[in-house]
Symmetry: C2
Amino acid sequence: MRKLPGIGTKTALRLAFHLVKGARDDVRRLANALLEVAERIHPCPQCGNYCDGALCPVCRDPSRDQGVICVVEEAYEVGAIERAGRYRGLFHVLGGRLSPLDGIGPEHLNIDGLVSRITEAPETPAEVILATNASVEGEATAVYLQGLLSPHVSRVTRLARGIPVGSDLEYVDGTTIGEALAGRREM
Amino acid sequence: MRKLPGIGTKTALRLAFHLVKGARDDVRRLANALLEVAERIHPCPQCGNYCDGALCPVCRDPSRDQGVICVVEEAYEVGAIERAGRYRGLFHVLGGRLSPLDGIGPEHLNIDGLVSRITEAPETPAEVILATNASVEGEATAVYLQGLLSPHVSRVTRLARGIPVGSDLEYVDGTTIGEALAGRREM
């Protein structure tokens, strides 16, 4: 249990004792749930998001806009964008970001899958939105992908950077204020 | 002392005892500094920022771009934008934001000063950047000012809203993700 993220030796011991002490049925149910995850949940062959069917719920939903692909680093970020409720296109999960210092190159990410998905599609998507994180590695990944995709896709966009909604300028860092100034929009 | 923000009865007492107990000279220096603030520091007649001369340092700096005015709610936000180091124009401090629930209308803010500054200038500024906060009141203030200024100024812009630099999508709220999607830019 100690191998789980955020769980140290003490917490692992506490959890283990709780399981040993508790009802056997509960332990069996947890074990079966874990087995089910290990067996049934797998990456969607089209977008890389997790799913338990042939395709993930987004990819198999015909009402989604098939002409827009939003590229994210991790599968849990699909949820963050879905909760925002403003996006009706498809996703593509890279499974990480380029990070040469950690030895993560393009070959470790689901980038080949993205390129073949775009080039082999019957209709080339109209737009690819690069929604990698606003960190240094996320930006580098976006720039790399832009170079790779722009010959194939007419519109490669990036999420806007700026002041988060509800924020006071006073509490926003200088770099973000600089980006918000550079990206200011006509009202 | 209890009237100062963030200082309750206990802290006020502690401060008072500290002053009574401490060196008389220190107390006199503090009192004189306060008097000096009360006497010398006043709003800049042009922009409303605080200054100790005829004009504030930004307004009297001839190297600043005289054709751009950045409108902020409070004087301390001038500092936030200055620290970002990306802005070379002038400022205008409103002294608050429109907030009908608190009884704050246009007449309570330095809005007349802004309009007369723009209409009476020998050269109309090319751009007004509305940098009010990304809160509900800040947005309402920006929309109000836009209506007021757009007949006089050719470009009225607003700071970009979006993902703050360095942030992970996972920790950004849904409304901000929605704004960042809506404001996405070509790479």
